[in-house]
């Protein structure tokens, strides 16, 4: 056992409750790792069904799961692997009417969604509930990861990408295509940020956005506080 984590850290993990918004490519590695690490309560909300085009990157699901609801299949598989973890599935779409009542049951939110509309709902909800959230998003061969609404900086996604009509044209994975292993890498980095927040260990990506390129192996970090560099 790592001395920096120890029994005290395992107890923190057991007491932690983490909600994944989305149960797709980013969530699959995060769900598996956080459950395996001993997180006591894990929820996931996703209203989508499993499609053939999901299978190259959504590694919780296989051919036999086609047509089934992702949240229910993920719940079943996680619960089988880790019966001591409380696993809760929500099969509704996260929207402004249900976000507060669902998110308030957790102390950390993972944004594994695939659209900007949901991302701004997560931001508003986490601000209202005073919850930190770990953001990640992917595009073809690239990923972005950051931590928002986390003490002491409390930077927000909209500090980096304020609401703008142009952004609604941003493509999701199904439309743009994505390298199958990319959400595995980016989702694992996202889960690592969640672990560090729970364990109060190391430096989290609060005030920083990490940009990863799977083709060039470049990790590029950008300070997200909106200050002049001069």
């Amino acid at each position: 056992m790592l001395p920096e984590i120890g029994i005290v850290g395992q107890e923190k993990l057991k007491q932690a409750s983490v909600l994944f918004i989305g149960a797709g490519g980013l969530a699959c590695p995060g769900l598996l790792y956080l459950a395996a690490c001993g997180v006591g309560k894990i929820g996931m909300i996703d209203f989508d069904s499993i499609e053939p085009s999901n299978l190259h990157r959504q590694i919780l699901y296989g051919q036999n799961d086609l047509g089934k609801l992702k949240a229910l299949v993920a719940q079943d598989k996680l619960q089988t692997l880790h019966p001591n973890c409380q696993v809760i599935a929500y099969t509704s779409k996260l929207d402004a009417s249900n976000a507060i009542s669902i998110c308030e049951e957790y102390n950390l939110i993972i944004d594994a969604s695939d659209n900007l509309e949901t991302r701004y709902i997560i931001e508003a909800t986490c601000k209202q509930l005073n919850l930190p959230w770990v953001f990640a998003a992917i595009h073809k061969y690239e990923g972005q990861i950051s931590v928002f609404n986390h003490e002491p900086l409390r930077t927000q996604y909209s500090d980096v990408f304020p609401k703008n009509d142009k952004k609604q044209a941003v493509l999701n994975c199904a439309e743009a295509g994505v390298l199958g292993i990319l959400p595995g890498i980016v989702g694992s980095l996202q889960a690592n940020e969640a672990l560090k927040i729970i364990l109060q260990l190391g430096d989290v990506l609060s005030g920083t956005m990490l940009c990863y390129n799977a083709l060039s192996n470049v990790f590029y970090t950008i300070k997200t506080q909106n200050n002049s560099p001069q």
Binding site: A27, N172, Y220, I222, Q225, Q230
Partner: protein
């Protein structure tokens, strides 16, 4: 301002900005302000105007117009949506 007042800056592009520019990084010449740099980029690559792009200077998000020098690295960061 004549061409001798122009500076040379490195542009680093991500996501759709990289696709529009056709490279992950290029060098451009511009007058020494961020707004001038943005205008040059939009003239060179008109499709950038269709996208929301956040700009970072020397790895720091910058929204206002600031002075640049030849050591500056300008990053073009579009939002990603996939999950």
């Amino acid at each position: 301002m004549n061409s001798s007042d122009q500076i040379q800056v490195k542009i680093v592009a991500f996501g759709i900005a990289q696709e529009i520019i056709g490279s992950s990084s290029i060098i451009i010449h511009c007058e020494p302000t961020l707004n001038a740099c943005k205008e040059n980029l939009k003239t060179m690559f008109p499709n950038l105007t269709k996208e929301f792009i956040q700009y970072a200077v020397n790895k720091q998000i910058v929204s206002e117009n600031i002075s640049l020098n030849s050591h500056c690295e300008i990053a073009l960061l579009p939002p990603f949506s996939g999950g």
